[in-house]
Structure formats: structure tokens, C-alpha cells
Subunit: 343 residues, 2 copies
């Protein structure tokens, strides 16, 4: 850091500084900086959702562990997951690619093939972008544009005391997959080709996460959720963000958090599956709150994805975790903060 220059201590601090200065035009912007995607009024009953997500070599992916096909797939999945968390349908994407000299034509083709495979499945058109060659690490920025009917928009800010907290899927699976990839790379001299000894499900969750767009729409259209956010950085951090936006607190039950224990977990140095579920990040599941009177309308499964009740929103602004012994602990946001953990 240059002398006499202070950096922003965290991403939320920078976002807060920006929110004050962005001077949003109230008429056109229903939700701006600080939600999963911006909500734009452009005439008619539909709102446009716009989100942008960086995927940086050495921060969000590794050239050693992640095949280019997965890098492209995941870069788009990050944006689609944001649109899912708003209750929207993804429609268009743009890709800006600052490409390292080290990554040649086959890497670029693999990247776009992975990107396009997911785009096709969700009916998303790649409509533009920008490209450059750089001497440093590859940086990808994906813009996702989606649509949602005006009254259906799911925000982070709608949670009320007494609302019940749910989460989709299994948490910590992506971090388990990454641990398995690192383990395999170490055993095989850095090739990173996963063999049978690594857990297929965790690898799939890590390399090819599934954006929960259908679930987001279901929650939005049936008016079941009062608030939603996607789990990109980890349950502890993302719940903190949802509660901060809503001006509420929350209590989670550790035993209810769907944190699978892979049989061979110890091989990959995974000792605390709850820690991974809370802080591992990159699960791209949906965290959502439901008014108590509607909680019984949440099915156990939605299209084969388990939906788990994990706690309750409270009026006190603190986040608490009740562990297996019934002991109440503070829940500290320890998920991924791009300002803290960049390598």
C-alpha cells in the first residue's frame, strides 16, 4: 500500500461509501447498490435485473484446479444465481475477458464452451462484451441481465422479526469439492484430474454449481419469501448481509444446517463440516425468509433440491447460533470477503 494511503478495510465498507455517493434516481431504480442485482424500471410491468460478477484467477479460480470449461460455467453461474435470488429469469449476458498471455486458444474455447453450456440450458443469450490480453492474471467480468414482474421482486431487505429462515441444497459442498481438487492435485503432481477417490457430488457442486432460478421464481410468484439472497460467500456472511439490509437479527440452529459429512472427509483435512457450511462459500444456494404463517407452504423438496428450515429472524440486531448442546454462540461473519482474502 502506498505511504499515506489507507485502503478500504472491507468490501461492505466500500459499498457503503459508494451507496452514499451513487445518487440514485428514485424514479427508475427500484433497488440499486447492495442487493444481488439492481432492479430497473424501463416501462411496462416487467423490471430489468442487472448484476455483474468478477471471476479472477488466483481469487475465484485457479488455473491449476479449475478446467477452463468450469471457469466459464462458474463465471456465468455467479450472475445467474444473483438473478435467481431476486426471483427473476435470466435473459442476457455480456462477458468482459482480460486474458492472461498464459492462456491460449484452447483455454479460451474451453472457457466459452462452459459458459455457453450453462447459457443454453437457461435460455440466456450472450450479447456482447470486451476483450484484452494482459500480462497478469486472467480477470473475467460477467454481466447478467434478467427480467421479473414488478410485484414479484425478491429483495434482501424484506425480512421481519418472526420470519422463518430456510436454505436450499446442502452447504459446504463446494468447499469440500475444492478441498478434494487440491488433494487430488497434490497426489498427482498438480494435474488436478479427479479420480474415483474424490467425492463426485462435491466436485460437481464446486465445478458446476446449479443456479436456483426455478426456486427463486417459485418463491417470488407464490409470494412465499419476504427476503432472499444467494449464498456466494458463505452462510455466515450472507445471512449477515440479509439481516443488515432488513434491519433485523437472526438465530440459527446448528443441527438444522444441511451440512453433509463426506465419508472420506478426513483425507481432505475437512474436520469441521459446520465451519465449511457456515463459511466455505460458493454454494450458490438460496437463503430466504418466510413469514411464520406461510412456513408450512414451503415444501421439503423443490424439484429434487432439499429445502431446510434452519432458524428464525429476531428483532435484536445480533446473529446467534445455537449449537448441538443448546449453547448459544455469536455467529461471526467469516465467509469470503474479497478485500480480506485476496491472494
Amino acid at each position: 500500500m502506498p505511504k499515506g494511503s489507507k485502503s478500504f478495510a472491507s468490501e461492505p465498507e466500500l459499498v457503503a461509501w459508494l451507496k452514499q455517493r451513487a445518487r440514485l434516481h428514485g424514479r427508475d431504480v427500484s433497488a440499486g447498490i447492495g442487493d444481488d442485482a439492481a432492479v430497473l424500471r424501463l416501462g411496462g410491468a416487467h423490471r430489468l435485473l442487472a448484476t455483474t460478477d468478477l471471476s479472477i484467477e488466483g481469487v475465484h479460480f485457479s488455473a491449476q484446479f479449475h478446467p477452463p470449461h468450469s471457469v466459464g460455467y462458474r463465471a456465468l453461474a455467479r450472475a445467474l444465481s444473483d438473478i435467481a435470488a431476486m426471483g427473476g429469469t435470466p435473459r442476457f449476458a455480456l462477458v468482459s475477458l482480460a486474458l492472461s498471455r498464459n492462456q491460449g486458444r484452447s483455454w479460451v474455447k474451453g472457457f466459452y464452451r462452459g459458459f455457453m453450456a450453462l447459457a443454453r440450458r437457461f435460455g440466456v443469450s450472450l450479447i456482447g462484451g470486451d476483450t484484452a490480453i494482459v500480462s497478469g492474471a486472467t480477470t473475467v467480468d460477467v454481466v447478467g441481465l434478467g427480467a421479473v414482474k414488478a410485484p414479484d421482486v425478491l429483495l434482501r431487505s424484506g425480512a421481519k422479526p418472526g420470519d422463518q429462515i430456510f436454505v436450499s441444497g446442502e452447504l459446504g459442498l463446494s468447499a469440500t469439492g475444492l478441498a478434494a481438487l487440491k488433494h487430488a492435485a497434490g497426489r498427482e503432481g498438480g494435474r488436478g484430474e479427479p479420480g474415483e477417490r474424490v467425492i463426485r457430488r462435491a466436485l460437481r457442486a464446486h465445478l458446476y454449481p446449479e443456479p436456483r432460478c426455478a426456486l427463486g421464481r417459485f418463491l417470488a410468484e407464490r409470494r412465499l419469501a419476504s427476503a432472499a439472497i444467494d449464498l456466494s460467500d458463505g452462510l455466515s456472511s450472507d445471512l449477515h448481509r440479509l439481516c443488515h439490509s432488513s434491519g433485523v437479527g437472526a438465530t440459527l440452529l446448528a443441527e438444522r444446517i444441511p451440512a453433509p459429512a463426506p465419508p472420506s472427509a478426513r483425507k481432505f483435512k475437512i474436520t469441521d463440516r459446520l465451519d465449511l457450511a457456515l463459511n466455505g462459500g460458493e454454494d450458490y444456494e438460496l437463503l430466504f425468509t418466510v413469514p411464520a404463517g406461510k412456513a408450512d407452504k414451503i415444501p421439503r423438496h423443490f424439484k429434487n433440491v432439499p429445502l431446510s428450515w434452519i432458524g428464525e429472524i429476531g428483532s435484536k440486531r445480533s446473529l446467534r447460533l445455537i449449537n448441538a448442546d443448546g449453547k448459544e454462540l455469536p455467529l461471526i461473519p467469516k465467509g469470503f470477503d474479497h478485500f480480506r482474502t485476496a491472494r
Copy 2:
């Protein structure tokens, strides 16, 4: 480059490969990859314009020559200029910032202040983005969203043989400004503080280029232009792109190209002002074509910006330049190609 891996030779080559694979959904996308911005149908009489532009330290700006205020301003100007070239009105922007550890809080504040100064002047709301800290160079990606009435959209592809070619402003001015900045930095030990000896107008054009949104709208709403593109990489390259999209060729008159000769140009090692005008890049002026019958409706000036006739579209696919002696030369695209000139 890794062994056995071929890279894409140029940005157009990658874009062409992508266009084939993007599988555009015809119903919703009026124009996609390969124009200044994508044109999206989202219901109603208006079209949404979406564009994204990278600004990379060491490629598009230098921490030595460019104050952070200018880096922020220029990053947004790139996107607004694309929207201007489509005849649109910019409305919203998102910023993804992969920030080098070397740039502290004061740099970030300066960057966003410059960005916001331009945004405010054009009524653009900053509605979101993404941030991360990286160990390498700073990379900025700006998403610009704009609106345009459906029949007013200006594309690159509409030029016809016989159309007259016009350009706004003065070309090569931005490259002159950069040369002056480099000269000043060399004289002052790398501080880059411009003194009286550098040319103010060229510095202004380089550090604070003016997106030609009002001109774009004027040409679009009066149906004067058959095609348009903004001059980001240099007249030679951008005219080539417009002609390629339209399936035509062009002949330019060197003497008609508005290429000012700064009095102190020799100081900055500027010996060929025509070369700067053709290949310097970053002028962010509009290049547009006008059917011959409407050419007399183009004013000499539009809001104090000179509009110059510089040549004619032809049916032969080649690009030619007639020099001061009446000699016809091939016009080679030598402007900025991010795949060729990255440092």
C-alpha cells in the same frame, strides 16, 4: 503461451468465433455481439442498449500518467461513447473493480469521484458492481445501460455505397495529450503533473473525453445517419469495422481529416499528425455515414463540435486513402488492437 496452445491472433478473430457460437435468440436481440452495444427488446417502444468496456492498468491507463479521477471518468466515457454511437441515451452503469493492492483508499475515492462527475452530467445512475483486491494490475469493467426508441437505433451495418462519411471533433488529439503527459512525466521525474508547456486542449481530450451522446441522438432522431461507430481504437480500425459490418468499402481524403497540428508538437516527438488521427485512438468521436441526399443537412458544427466530411462509402470492399498529392493508397487498420498491443 503454453506449449501446443495457439492464441487468437486478434480481437476481431475471437469476436467472429464467438458470434458463431452465441446462438442469439432472434426475438429479443435486435443487435448483439459486434456492434457498439447490444440492442435488447424488453417490451414497449424502447430498446435497451447494453455495453461493457474494460479499462486495464498498463493497457488502457497508466498509474503514472493518469490521475485516478481521470481513470474513473474515462472508464465511464468509454461506455457512454458506445451508447452515443447507437443513438441512445445512457441511463445506468455498473462498475466491477479488481483493485491492485498498490492503489489505496485515496485512489479509489478519486476513481469514483471522476466516474460520478461524468455520470451526474449525463444523468446516469451507478446501480451496482463487484469488487475484489488483486495482487496484479487494476482492472475496471464498466457496464453501460441506455435506452433508445426502436426505430432510432444506429447500427454499424447500415452504410451503403454512395453514402458520405463524416466525423465529429478533431482526431489524434487524445494521442497528442498522452504524448504530452509522457513528456511531462519524463521532465518531472515521473510525477506527471502537466505544466503550461503541454497543450491544454489535447490533455483535456485525453484525460476527460466528451461522449457525443447529444450528437448521436440528433443523427438518430432526424434519421440522418445510415450507420455509426465511435472512434475508440482509431479511425483506420473503426472505419474498417463499420465497413466490414456493412459489407462495403470506403475512400477517405487525407486533407479533409480534422487532424490539428499542435504548435509544440515536435517537443512530444509528434511528427505525423495524420498518423495520429488515423491510428492514435481514444478520441471517442463519432464516425457516421449519411445518404448522399441528406448530406447537406449535416451542420458544420453541432453544439460547438465541428462535423467534417472526410470521404465516401464505395461498393468495393477495400479502404483507400487519397493523400495531399492526389495519390491513392490502401488504408491499413493500424489502430489499437487489444490483442496486439497489450503490454
